[in-house]
Amino acid sequence: MADSDQVLNRVKFITNLVTCLRLIFIYPPKHPLVGNSLKNVFASAILILDNKQEFNLILSPDNKIIIDGETLSEKNSGIIQDFVPYFKKFDIEDVTFSSGITESEIEQFVKILISDKDVLNKAGDINKLFQEKSIIHIRAKQFEYLKVEKGKEAFVAEGKPAEFEQLKARLKDFAENKIEKPEDIQQVEKEIFGLVSEEFKQTRKLSLQVKNALKKFIVHNKDKDNALARLKDALVEYGCPPEEVGRLLDKISEEISRPVESKPRVSSADFAQLKTENDGLKAKLDILEQEVIRHAAAVEQLKKENTRILSEKQRIDNIVHNMAEGMVVVDSNGKILLVNPAAEALLGITKNDIGRPIKEVVKNEHLLTLTKRISSEKDEVVEKDIELIGADESTKKILRTSSAVVEDHNGNTVGMVTMLNDITKQREIEGLKSQFLANVSHELRTPLIAIEKSVALILSKSTGDISDTQNEFLTIAERNLKRLTTLINDLLDLSKLEASKTVLNPEKTNLDKLIIESVETLNNWAATKSIKLSHSVSSDLPSLELDPNKIIQVLNNLIGNAIKFTPQDGSITVEAVHDKQEGVVRVSVQDTGAGISSEDLGRIFEKFYQAGDKNSSDIKGTGIGLAIVREIVELHKGKVWAESEKGKGARFIFTLPIWI
């Protein structure tokens, strides 16, 4: 491999290592950035190891990074120097990486690099720590750390650090001509030569400190050349290859003869520029680091927000899941979006049906019409009671459905939500109540009728003459009976009215059929007063969704009222037309009776309000009939009103909307 490539690989290794150390400090260990950077470190280590068994990494005393004897220069990459503090923490001589190293060993190594000094100190032997972390392809050569003067670093040789400081002190004296005795000078020479020999033998170079010490010795030596010659001999004798020794000494001579310390290779202008660039890059790095930290903080924030939202969603999901009411949501195309367990049970559909169009899954027509009808009034909630026959024909369920449109935040219809309530039990109870009411009604009225008739017969003297006193008291009885009857009728009718607050049971119906039925029911009654009862239904009447029983009640009531209030030989006309413009069907009952005064006209639909002669003993009703009519018509989302003038007959009109 070309030298330049090797240099590049080494630089890359350190660069990647530094990057990784920074990232692992900021990001959680599982973060993809961290994973990637570890991979890079590993890859560059492998590249260096190519064809080699191992490579080693040393930090020089002047904090230069040396890999396999080659110093990595800052020129290649500014950040490699940032590796130094991490390495220094170790207090070791060198680290060796051998082939067979794995990614996880790299990861552990990096983690150790970022641990606190205390952790490292506690571990004691670094290699022991490596072993604990299953690192077998990285070895550290430990320093023996000896106490030295504060601020000064000991020389890199086992067992000989302190002496170098003493030597330096003596050289200082030597340079100042304080050492005069030849034996002393010889001693100094011996020591310095010994030092140089040792270092040169081991590393084939001289570290800056030692070199400077030697130079100092030579420079201030009165016998330079001989000293150098003696040095040469000493080195060769020590075992250093003569060629290299020669080269070394030549270099030293050269350096010594140079008057000034080697000129800086960088001109001051370049240096200034480099410094500016460096400062700029440092500043950028700071900014980036800040960004990274901010980013990490933002991520934390998002994580928190996410957790909060998830737990809220969870809460709502729980509610929807557990509530007793069924909930079904379909989109505007009729596809099922959501169904909760209660709805599943009621409709016999499952979560697997989500996404399918509802008409594939739900067979009941009534339920399906719910999804088709999106009302133009978007705030409206449409309520319907729907009967479902269960799987075995004997079980019947009645569901109360409430549907409303779902809009997005722009107000567009995106679907429909329907709530389902099983009201079978409720209906049963209502049925029982109704039945009870009917029974009570009958049971109350029957005895009253019998009493009334008995009293009336006696009073009419058909049973024979009665005394004045008997007359008087029987009249009292009769009057109170009337009061009682009226009261009971009112109470029973009121119960009926309250009961009619139940939701309608709509069916597709032809209104003309209902009109015919009602007219036929009342025709003979009309005939007894010789009243002509006719009807006309326009042919283009669409069929409507309405509750036929209730509408019959309305027709019977209106036509019945017309008959009551129309004298002999009058006529009553029932008409039904389709008003396309308004989108309604309009039904009117016109009579030729006495008409309704304007003051009554506004109030006749009120509960208990009775128009006409209040003193009449004719029990015309309780004033609730029209209130019931209004209730029913309005439940169908229609309107009812009356038009009349006193003496000119009356016209009662109600409309029923046409559903799409």
Binding site: S441, H442, R445, T446, I449, A450, K453, S454, A456, L457, S460, S462, T463, T485, N489, E517, E520, T521, N523, N524, W525, A527, T528, Q553, N556, I619, G621
Partner: protein, 128 residues
């Protein structure tokens, strides 16, 4: 009285029967009674009344069934239904079988009488 008009009164309530038949008798009609649909049919055959007042809700056989059966052998005789409630749906059924009116128990007997008279009048006219 000569040419007394015979009324068949059918109702399951004894008290009501007593009262109404007294009233009708006091107005000059002759009255025979029955307390359920089955009896009513027997009486109708046996007594050949000019008009029948019939309650709808009766045990054994109710008014509607009795009316159906009656119409099988007698399409002629006018029948006035007696009803306890104002919105009796059964009354509607009875309509289809041809009746001449509905008398609501709560009303005055006088009204019942008018119904009767009108029905007879109409019937006579139809016969002509």
């Amino acid at each position: 009285m000569e040419n007394e008009i015979k009324v068949l009164l059918v109702d399951d309530e004894e008290d009501f029967r007593k009262l109404l038949s007294f009233w009708l008798k006091s107005k000059g009609y002759s009255v025979v009674t029955a307390s359920n649909g089955e009896e009513a049919l027997n009486m109708a055959k046996a007594e050949n009344p000019s008009i029948i007042f019939m309650d709808l809700n009766m045990p054994v056989m109710d008014g509607t069934d009795a009316l159906k059966k009656l119409r099988e052998f007698n399409k002629d005789v006018p029948v006035i239904i007696i009803s306890s409630y104002v919105d009796d749906r059964k009354a509607k059924q009875a309509m289809e079988l041809g009746i001449s009116g509905v008398f609501y128990k709560g009303k005055d007997f006088q009204e019942g009488l008018s119904l009767l008279e009108t029905a007879l009048r109409t019937h006579k006219q139809l016969k002509k």
